[in-house]
């Protein structure tokens, strides 16, 4: 266990997952996963389809369908598994969804305003002018048209627009930890560059990022500090950014073969 020495220090600015087991419909999807992301770092999780990456992302965010059967998740020393999804969010956890939901009739402007307002102390009203100034600044960063704000959240959006909208929300809400689930999928190369630029501009000592992808391509633009390979609900290999290139070259089978052998034997 790589983190056993660190996890008990409550002043650690780190997202720590220890020996996590998660089931849905009596099927175990996450099977003893451990990982930690300190603030200031970007960690990539790569893995084949169906290995449980999105499950991990949703469990971190508190999705009610998944059952945590064992293990712990702490954020800056606080156990978050008992918290409601919105409490986790307000404490600084952000998830950019692989498949963001549509909310008919609710404009981006109103939705984000409610999200920002939810982070303010009770009784304090968000100042409209400040809010729009902030929002427009972030939109400019992501090269988004102002008219975007009056569209209903994700309704009728192209794949690329949805992903850009996720990053816009991340930029505005300034999380401590962000989990980006396949933010690169469905993006053409220009959109990928814009989104990467957005994420990179948010990088800094106060933000930890967990970047989920199954293509190496994204990692050319958002260069990770660490790369983890996830197969069938576990981290099976970890390394520096070069691990992604190795994976690209050899494929996931290389990792699978590597781990299948001992279990077969």
């Amino acid at each position: 266990m790589a983190h056993s020495g660190l996890s008990f220090e409550s002043d650690m600015q780190e997202l720590i997952i220890q020996d996590l087991h998660v089931s849905i419909a009596d099927q175990e999807i996450i099977r003893g996963l451990s990982l930690s992301v300190p603030r200031g770092e970007v960690h990539a999780i790569m893995g084949p389809n169906g290995s449980g990456k999105s499950t991990l992302a949703k469990v971190l965010a508190g999705h009610p369908d998944y059952i945590v059967t064992a293990g712990s998740v702490t954020m800056d020393g606080e156990n978050i598994l008992e918290l409601e999804p919105d409490e986790r969010a307000r404490r600084g956890l952000f998830l950019a969804f692989q498949y963001p939901s549509e909310i008919p009739g609710v404009t981006i402007a109103n939705f984000l305003r409610a999200a920002v307002q939810s982070r303010m102390p009770e009784g304090e009203e968000l100042e409209a002018t400040d809010y729009y100034a902030q929002l427009y600044k972030k939109m400019d960063l992501l090269e988004m048209d102002r008219s975007f704000t009056s569209r209903s959240v994700n309704e009728g959006f192209s794949g690329g627009e949805k992903k850009r909208n996720e990053i816009l929300q991340m930029a505005l809400l300034e999380p401590k930890y962000a989990v980006l689930d396949e933010t690169d999928s469905g993006l053409d190369i220009d959109a990928l560059k814009v989104v990467s630029k957005g994420v990179n501009s948010l990088r800094g000592p106060d933000l930890g990022v967990l970047l989920i992808t199954h293509y190496q391509r994204l990692l050319n633009y958002i260069v990770p500090d660490r790369v983890h390979v996830m197969v069938r609900g576990r981290i099976e290999m970890s390394g520096g950014k070069d691990l992604a290139l190795q994976l690209e070259e050899k494929g996931y089978d290389w990792v699978k073969d590597d781990i299948d052998e001992p279990t077969l034997a």
Partner: protein, 469 residues
Amino acid sequence: MVQENKSLEIERNIGDFAYPETHTHDAGIGLTEKTIHYISDVKQDPDWVREFRLKAYRTFLSKPMPTHWASRDLEAIVFDNIRYYLSGGIQPKRTWEEVPDDVKRTFERLGIPEQERKFLAGVEAQFDSEAVYSNIKKAVGEQGVIFVGSADGLKEHPEIFRKWFGKVIPTGDNKFSALNSAVFSGGSFIYVPPGVKVKHPLQAYFRINAENFGQFERTLIICDEGSELTYMEGCTAPKFNTATLHSAVVELVAMKGAKIQYITVQNWSNNVFNLVTKRGLAHEEAEVKWIDCNIGSRLTMKYPGVVMKGRKARGEVISIALAGDGQHQDTGAKMVHAADETTSNIISKSISIGTGRATYRGLVHVPKHLKNCKNNTECDALLINSHSRTDTYPAITVRGTGNAVQHEASVSQVSAEQIFYMQQRGLSKAQAMSLSVNGFVNDLVRQFPMEYSVELKRLIELEMEGSVG
């Protein structure tokens, strides 16, 4: 067992009125010819009105309950237990301390002004709106607009009143319009002279009194040629102070080229049967538009209608219904095309929460001999949690050539994924719910006047908080 029942009884009565024991100033309980005479005596009705009431009473008795198509829950109404008239001298009494806390909180959250709260909660019998609205009243008075209570209207302006009273909605239209015709009191009478465009919306508030909040309001509005009027009734505050049966009748008459917009927002308490008949008559190139928002009640049955009698007349019904736990909103619209080139539009959105139930009934009638008539109907239902139920019963009879009807219906759910997505952004479950619901009705809420739309949004928030628990 006995104890359980007892506590249930007490629960039910929280917030109920305490009526004075003596019945010398009201019509007592139950309905007979004597009751009608009593009401006519107290109100000093002209003879024709007394006759009208008595005839209506007989019609009421002869009409069956519409349970062959409507909810059987109607059978729970016991006509013999109802108090049909309270004269002005006697008012129900309750102190502010006796008003339940949740009602006070709702007033607070809705931002209802202090003096109105007391009236709405039934602590005060009068809400003195004179000071607030006298300017507007004066202004419309100078334009020749008549705006009085229906009792004054029938006495002071019989030549206009009698011509249209009971003509748009005949007494025998249904059992409840007959009941209203027998025992009506309260409601407004408005006449707008030719060409006058009333700038400010007129509100029932302007001349509110206890009768106005009565059970059997009767409103008649006549807009003469080329005139325009917006009328608003109700408010988003819970009307929890009242009796269990409400049966209003509202008749609108738009003469050639006139425009009437009638806006209702009602928020009934859970024990109320709200059975309302509303219809407008649109003459040539006239327009009648109903904007209707129904929240609460045990059972609401309401199908605002427009009879398009003149060429190029237009009718529109925009409605929002919210059925919370244990409530049934049975609403819809009736569009009767009776001239060429008439157009009608119905947009209905319902929200069902928990065991709440929303039913849409629409009638669109275009007879064979008419040409170039159009109807558009959209009805959308939003379900919140699996118990919710929604039914749609469109009855569309369109004959003849060149007439076009378009009907769209949808049922959607506030999905768990949607709520999770919003929660992930920091919104509580209740906030997420209310934002979804507000989004669903957003395009309709925008058609309400500003102060209503703001209140409506807040009201939906409150309902959602309650439903998430």
